[in-house]
Structures are given as structure tokens and as C-alpha cells.
Amino acid sequence: MGKTFAVKALERASGESDLVPGQIVDAYPALYMSHTATWRCIKTWERMGEPELFDKDRIAMVMDHISPAQTSKIAGDHRLSREFRDRMGIRNFFDVNAGIAHVVLMEHGLVKPGDLIIGTDSHSTIYGALGALGTGVGFSEITAAWVTGKLWMRVPESMKVVVQGPLPEGVYPKDVMLKLIGDISADGATYFSVEFHGDWVESLSTSERMTLCNLAMEAGAKNAVVPPDAETMRYLVEHGVDLDTVRPLHSDPDAVFAREIRLDGRSLEPQIAVPHNVDNVVPISEVAGTRVDQVFIGSCANAKYDDLAIAARYLKGNTIAPNVRLVVTPASADIMAKAAADGIVSTLIEAGALITNPGCGACAGSGGAMADGEVTLSTANRNFRGRMGSYESSIYLSSPAVAAASAVTGVITDPSRVLV
């Protein structure tokens, strides 16, 4: 019987063989990421008596959720993190100027196919865009991994998601994922390793694959993966990875999937997650015309270079509606630099956008808060009640195209209805 990607990746990380789903193993990740939670890890490590680190080069730290610091408490947390870096010689440290951890680590060649990567962030599933097994854990587990090098992992069952394309004009990977989450619900993939397959998936760029693997978490997935291929190798080379060090893993052709889902994207409408759950998904025709006070283009789901380029396409030569604020937060410094160099940033500014520094921004509640009764249309991955300010405000989720088109009209708008 064939093995799935997840079984193979956990066999590699644990050194064990013939694993089956349901087993619990000690697994040794290739990388342990901590973001703004880094100071909590350091405090925990101090409480443990400052034990020796297992492998400091597997530690990665990114100051992304609240950057730059908004309070002296947070400034102190950042300082503690820098002091730890200097004292312990942590090489993979990215400060408040870098951007969102997930995107930054991939851009810096720290994510490789077949690796097990854990992070203090639920959206660590995103590393599957490069064929890695990424999953989120709490800060105590990251601290434990610093010291022991390992964590317990349950070998997951696998779910195969096959998407048929091409998608209609104005419809994007975000719409496919919202549709999937709406169909299978917020716990439809809980404990599963989700694999994306099919010609359409193979045709996607690594950036688009990030959107798939990132959002799989919102259906409860333990991890999500697009099988690594020529596009993966292209991305890795572009970001300085020596391909001789890369050992990709793929599910065997006869691997057993506990569940298989087929999704036909060919006639899909843009999808919207309406308040206050990500699986509360409707086609845009049901909510078109809903007033928005703020549009947020940001987050690890949809603030990559191509997302900003799509937004710029809809905003070029247009001006955002009066009474709408458009907040754009590029996912990383590299993305922001590229978008600035080729005019995307000026297009957005000319249309009326507020461009913030790269990072998690409003998605993590850092800036962009709403007052009672206000509505934000966001390209992020979560619309939970109170996540962006008032408990009496509302968040709708969409693709960058819908977000940009809606910023122009001031109401939720199908991008195919805006001239480009």
C-alpha cells in the first residue's frame, strides 16, 4: 500500500518507518518559527533554567504581528528578542521591517520541500506551498523544541482536494478556498493533511499556492500541501536555495486518502465569507451592494506581489469611494520594494490607498480598527467577531480583486462589473 506525503514527511522527521495514521511519534522539525510570540518563548526558556539549545540554526524569529512597536511594553518584548538573538547567535532573525513570518521565511530560502516546520501561528500550513509539512503550535511547544529538538505529532489521515479549472475572469484561488471552506465547514479538514491536486493546481504560481495552503487551516487542516514540481524548483532557485539540498516528497500513486473532494472552478462566482465565521460563505451575488467602511488588502493569505498587482489593475485610474478607507499592507519588505519599483505602490496611493509598513497589520489587530457598526471587507483569512476592533463591527472576506473593486464603489462589488 502506498504512503501519503504526510506519512513520508513524518517518517523522515522521526527516523521511523512504516508509520500509519493515528500513531503518535517524536518528530524533529527542520525549523521552529516564532513570531511576535518570541518573547513568550524566551520567558519560558528562562523559567526552565535556560537549558542548552538543541540546534540554534533551526530557530527562526520574525517580529511581525505588532510592528513597529505601539507601546513600550511591546518595544521591551522586541528588545528582549534582539538581546536573545545576540547572546545565542540566532542567525535567522527578522526584525520589524521584514514582513509576515511565513512569507519572509519562504523568500529567504528557509523552507524546503519535505521539511517539517512548526510555527507559533496557525497559518503555518502555508509552507506546503513549497512542499513542506507546516503546522501551528503554541509557544510552549516552540520553546520545548528549542531545547529538545522535537515534539509529539499524530500521523494524520490525508484528504485529497482536486480542483478543476480554468477559473472564470475575476475569480481567483481565494474564491476556490472560500468555496471549499464553505462546503466542508470550519472543521471539515480537522486533523487532516490536505493535498491539492489537478491540472489547475499545477498551473498555479508558488504565491497562489500559498493562498491555498494558508486557507486550508480555516477548514481545520493540520497541514496542507501542493506536490512540489518544476514551479517549486524555480521558486527555490530564485530565492537562493541550492537544489542539491532539496529532497521533495510526494504521495505514492496508490496512497490511500481518507477523503477526496472534487471542486469544479470553471463556473465559480467570486465568493465572500460573511460575518462572523470563515465557513459562512456565499456567492458574491447574494451580498453585492453591502456598504463597506474599510477595505483591507493584507495578510499572509493575500498581500503578496501578485495580489497587489491584481488590486492595482482594478484601481488604476480610479479613485476610492468617499467614506471608504483602503488600507494596503504588503506581506513583506521584498514585495513592497518590488511593488514600489514597478509603479504598483503609486497606482494604489493615487487611487486613495493608505500603504502601511509590511507585516500582519490590521489582520492581527495592529492598526485599522473599526468602530461600532462598521464594516471591513478584507483579503485576510479570518472574520471572527471583534478581530478588528469593536465587537459590534463586521468583517467580510474576499479576494484582492473583489476588495479593490469594492473600494472603488464603496459597496461589495463583483470585479467583473468594474471596467479594467
Partner: protein, 171 residues
């Protein structure tokens, strides 16, 4: 807090529905703290002071499917410990919340039959050793924790578990 294999945990219960997410359990703005008691004062704040007052009197949190979905924030478990919750009984958990519960020493059991039976305010008892949830006079079994998870829970969490292990190795 650490528990022993013979501990029977419980008391009055507070009942929630499906998909209770981490932003509701502990809003992101309070993550600047790691003190369980301070975090506990903000637990379930988005649902209002009446819910928070009931939570304070309820050592058992009962929920439907997918409890703790959303963020990987460990404080979603520690804030419950901070306000005095001894056990969570749910139909199912998001995987990160479940890990965080075990790793912070919070007993979280999956027992759909018990959830069906529990009414708001019922006394609910979780017998960790026997693997049962008792509601009024009825008893419902749940699958026992694997040994590795039991060890962590009984030590009072992952960090405490490791500290005990290191201390033993030094002796």
C-alpha cells in the same frame, strides 16, 4: 496546576455552541500578557459581562464542535485556567487548541454523548483515571489519553514536564 491520575475534576458547567473561536476566548489585544489570572479576566470578553460572570462560577466549560478554532495562541487555554476552569468537555476541538490545552495542563476531553446530556449549569465531573464524564446520574465514557499526553497533563503541562525530566536527569 498539576493533576494526578486520581483527580476527579468538575463542578458547575457553562455551555457554549459550535465553532467557538480563539478571538472570542481571548481577544488578540490581550496577548501582551502571559499571566493566566490577568488573561482570565478577559476570557470570553466579546460575549459580555453576563457570560464572563457565569464563566467565573463554572469550573467546567462545555462546547459543541471545533472548540478553540482559529489562532495558535496558547493563551486561549491559559486564560481558562486563569479564571478557574478545571476541564473542557466538547464534541470536538481544533487541533491547535487541543495541543495547547494538553501542553498547559488543561484537561480537554471529547465526549459528544455527555455534551448532548448537559444542560447549562449542570454539575459535570470528569474522571480522568476512569475516562468518564458524569452528568447528574449518568456516566459517559471518553477515549483515554495516549500515555505521552497523560505524562504531560499529569506534570501540569509541557514545560513542567520537561523541567521535571531535566531535574531527574541531573540527580
Amino acid at each position: 496546576m498539576s493533576i494526578t491520575a486520581t483527580d476527579r475534576l468538575g463542578g458547575r458547567s457553562i455551555v457554549f455552541g459550535d465553532d467557538v473561536n480563539t478571538d472570542v476566548i481571548i481577544p488578540g489585544r490581550y496577548l501582551v500578557s502571559i499571566d493566566p489570572v490577568e488573561l482570565g479576566t478577559h476570557a470570553f470578553e466579546p460575549l459580555g459581562p453576563e457570560v464572563q460572570a457565569r464563566l467565573k462560577e463554572s469550573p467546567v466549560v462545555v462546547a459543541g464542535r471545533n472548540f478553540g478554532c482559529g489562532s495558535a495562541r496558547e493563551q486561549a487555554a491559559t486564560c481558562l485556567i486563569g479564571i478557574g476552569v478545571k476541564a473542557v468537555v466538547a464534541r470536538s476541538y481544533s487541533r491547535v487548541f487541543f495541543r495547547n490545552a494538553i501542553n498547559t495542563g488543561l484537561v480537554a476531553v471529547e465526549c459528544p454523548a455527555a455534551v448532548d446530556a448537559i444542560q447549562e449549569g449542570d454539575d459535570v465531573w470528569v474522571d480522568y483515571e476512569a475516562g468518564t464524564v458524569t452528568v447528574r446520574d449518568a456516566t459517559y465514557p471518553f477515549a483515554p489519553f495516549p500515555p505521552v499526553l497523560r505524562e504531560i497533563l499529569e506534570a501540569g503541562g509541557l514545560v513542567e514536564h520537561l523541567m521535571k525530566k531535566f531535574a531527574k536527569e541531573k540527580d
